[in-house]
Amino acid sequence: MIRKTAIAIALEHIEFDDRIISANGFISRDLFSISDTRSAFYMIGSMGLASSIGLGIALKDTGRKVFVFDGDGNILMNLGSLTTIGSLKPKNLIHVVFDNSVHESTGSQPTNTNFVSIEKIAKACNYNHTFMARTKNNFEKILRKIKKLNGPIMIVVKIQQSNDKKSARIDYEPVEIKERFMSQV
């Protein structure tokens, strides 16, 4: 499964009303190129902070589900956020980590998820449910299952690097991204 496929599968299980925060780099670019209908909060800079921005929204907008689309390199930069999320336990937070064990956006340098499991760290940090998906079928099954579960939930999706053309950069201005997201009430 490549990241674009995994993101497309996830989108099939996300309601129109749910919120999406997507990490900087190729995750936001892929999401933008697959579907731009949901006014996601596309991150451009602020490396590693998707989980924190998602936590902030989840704590305030308690009536809606908040999906964080994260990467392994991204979450490794902000592991402390897992302890904050696991302490505050927002029921509506679903943390999806697309894990290819490389920093693909910067030239595919290796990350430490080759040796250490993010899923186990999330479990140790009091996430209510943690999952590991390695195939499309498996990921779909998990996405169906979590509809009835309370967060915080972590799904680590193991993905392969793709040889496809890079997705285009997001062509909204950052302020526009923010305002679209905020006005999606």
């Binding site: 451009i44 902070l49 929204i57 704590l59 305030k60 904050t84």
Partner: protein, 173 residues
């Protein structure tokens, strides 16, 4: 700064619609933080970048949907020591300023006194220049005119601009 004033500052900002207080503790502002903890209004993060990320997420929520964004956004304050302010620079430029998500930074100024602990000397010295380089407007709070400075910060955040309120460390322990 005196305990009573620090507690008053927290109460004043809370009353004036700062909804979220997130940060990393600093002994210089410990009574401010303690007042927030008493109100169950403080969220302690692991690092300052994380605190700013959470604050940004909270600020994207509309307290009064339907009104214009600048009037109804859920305003946040992020507190930290100036060592943590140094940690925050990339997050300030590439999140707070890039997306124009206004927030108030409350920063404890270590290294304000010449005889403060050695690890604070350099950052204490360059702090005003760093604020200036970031185009982050700031005011130093004191026991006489703190209310005026808070009003200034509240006005700026309503106008969509971030700013910093600084509390100098005036004792050595």
């Amino acid at each position: 700064m005196k305990e009573t004033i620090q507690r008053k500052i927290f109460d004043y900002l809370l009353k004036n619609k700062i909804y979220n207080f997130i940060g990393v503790p600093d002994s210089t502002i410990k009574y401010f933080i303690d007042q927030g903890l008493k109100h169950n209004k403080i969220l302690i993060a692991t690092r300052e970048e994380e605190a700013i990320g959470i604050a940004a997420g909270m600020s994207l929520f509309l307290e009064h949907p339907g009104e214009i964004i600048s009037k109804s956004q859920s305003n946040s304050l992020v507190f930290m020591q100036n060592a943590g302010f140094a940690n925050s620079i990339s997050t300030i430029t590439s999140l707070v300023q890039l997306y124009q998500i206004p927030m108030i930074f409350l920063i404890g100024w270590r290294g304000f006194l010449k005889n403060d602990a050695p690890e604070h000397t350099k950052i204490g010295k360059i702090q005003p220049k760093l604020l200036q380089a970031l185009s982050l407007q700031s005011m130093v709070l004191d026991e006489k005119s703190w209310k005026k400075s808070c009003d200034w910060a509240l006005k700026l955040i309503k106008d969509g601009k971030s700013c910093a309120l600084i509390i100098p460390r005036e004792f050595v322990d």
